[in-house]
């Protein structure tokens, strides 16, 4: 279903015939009717008729990117660059987080919001830091995410940030009825915000609570907009779609570390190429005690937790 190709032109349709204009007319008519029925008044005809990102040709992508950039320019009054960098060959991204070092300061949470153009009001955060009881160990029944002491770490507690685990077998992808979310070749699970219908099945399927829904129009001040964006990543989202951590696809596909790695004051966050034996992530996997969150669900995360001591 999701692999369906765009409908081919009817045979015998010469450029000189009036097929083009008829198609155009029908397209406009369908779009107009759909808009009237769904109440999506803001949706342009082009946007309404746009195909799934994976079915688009290079030219179509360029046209769409140009349209998005002009829309963002009009909305935020500044130039927002929408990039379309594909996955690097020979790279599968992996992430490791040192539970013995994290102090729960939430610098990562806010750096992520800033980098990835999340809605400020209503608030959306892709990283959730859980305060856990040392007595209990990794026990989600004893996790508190709203902790707010004067100083962290608090005595007797440790901290476990949870974000998208970029599973090798992502249940969110499996349940999406329209194929609006998929796993890229470098292991990043992405969302096509223009194809997402907002059914939130993926949110129900994700065992990590890593997906977030734009219940309202995303509240993003023009001054807060990060203009360096990726089509499948941090470009400003519309209302009614699901979003998630993409390992900062706009940064990592250019060779940079994700924003959460860059900001972490304790160096708890490790990132790299799982296929490169010399990468930090491989060193962690080879030398440290590593576990995956909810391993029993067989989601096979590319996100690992470890104990550095």
């Amino acid at each position: 279903m999701t692999d369906q190709l765009p409908t081919p032109l009817p045979t015998g349709c010469e450029p000189s015939s009036n097929c083009d204009s008829r198609r155009e007319f029908l397209g406009t008519a369908v779009a107009a009717v759909a808009m009237a029925l769904t109440g999506c008044g803001k949706l342009s005809k082009e946007e309404f008729l746009q195909h799934n990102f994976r079915e688009l040709t290079k030219d179509e992508i360029q046209t769409i990117i140009a349209r998005l950039e002009s829309e963002y320019k009009a909305k935020y009054g500044k130039t927002v660059k929408v990039n379309n960098e594909p996955a690097m060959p020979g790279v599968i991204f992996g992430y490791a987080l040192d539970l013995s070092r994290c102090i729960g300061c939430r610098r990562c949470v806010h750096a992520c919001v800033k980098e990835n153009n999340q809605s400020r009001t209503p608030e959306i955060q892709w990283i959730r830091v859980l305060e856990m009881d040392k007595e209990e160990g990794v026990n989600l029944q004893h996790a508190e995410q709203y902790y707010d002491p004067a100083e962290v770490p608090r005595e007797g507690h440790f901290y476990m940030p949870v974000q998208c685990q970029q599973c090798k077998k992502p249940p969110c992808v499996k349940v999406c009825p329209v194929g609006a979310t998929w796993k890229e070749k470098d292991g990043i699970v992405v969302v096509d915000y223009n194809w997402c219908i907002g059914c939130r099945y993926c949110m129900a399927a994700c065992p990590y609570g890593a997906r977030h829904f734009n219940w309202g129009e995303p509240g993003l001040n023009p001054a807060d907009v990060n203009p360096d964006t990726h089509y499948l990543g941090n470009r400003p989202r519309p209302k009614g779609v699901v979003e998630k951590c993409t390992f900062c696809v706009q940064r990592t596909r250019k060779g940079l570390y994700p924003a959460c790695v860059e900001i972490c004051p304790t160096g708890s966050r490790k990132f790299g190429n799982l296929l490169d034996a010399k990468s930090e992530i491989r060193q962690v996997l080879e030398h440290k005690r590593v576990f995956k969150l909810k391993e029993d669900l067989n989601t096979q995360p590319n996100f690992f937790y470890f104990y550095g001591v």
Partner: protein
């Protein structure tokens, strides 16, 4: 843990502060990384105006005194590092104040202080070289910026300092209704 304050004259501070690298001829400008054994390490975070130590400890203004004692100078240093017997000249070199020294007596520069730390903390040193311990910034597939041990751990009190956490997430019940949104 031992909390005995040592008041020490003639010792360089390696406190967490803005890097101030006054006048060391062979070193580059402030912020420029120094290549050591293929590792890109930034300048040590000296307290403003404290380096070079020989500005005071030239053997004339301040005489070398290896007597273990409480000192009038450097009173801001509170030594909370290891056993009570530890003191300044275990790491700082009495006769060459702009250097540290290893247990072997070999003098090392402040820019390679990780060698000194690694003598006792060998496991952390190994992990740091592999990229497991410590912060890396820059590029996951290219040039990385390492930090020295002393950028995160004050060598005189190395326990990682607690931080004020940033704002917690809003509880769902407090997320306000916005125009055009369900909540």
């Amino acid at each position: 843990m031992n909390t005995r304050p040592i008041r020490t004259a003639g010792l360089t501070l390696l406190l967490l502060a803005a890097p101030a690298f006054a006048s060391q001829p062979e070193k580059g400008k402030k912020g420029e990384a120094v290549a050591q054994e293929g590792l890109q390490v930034p300048k040590p975070p000296f307290t403003e105006g404290v380096f070079p130590c020989t500005a005071c400890h030239d053997g004339k203004q301040v005489k070398v005194n290896t007597q273990r004692r409480e000192l009038a100078m450097h009173s801001e240093i509170e030594l909370k590092h290891g056993p009570e017997s530890r003191w300044c000249l275990d790491c700082h070199d009495a006769n060459s104040r702009d250097n540290l020294h290893l247990a072997s007596g070999e003098k090392v520069d402040f820019t390679v202080s990780y060698k000194l730390c690694g003598q006792c903390h060998g496991d952390k040193f190994r992990d740091w070289r592999l990229g497991i311990h410590g912060k890396r910034t820059g590029s996951w597939n290219g040039a990385k910026q390492y930090l020295l041990c002393v950028h995160c751990h004050n060598p005189h009190a190395p326990h990682f300092a607690p931080l004020k956490p940033m704002a917690p997430p809003t509880r769902p019940e407090n997320i306000k209704l916005t125009k055009g949104g369900a909540r």
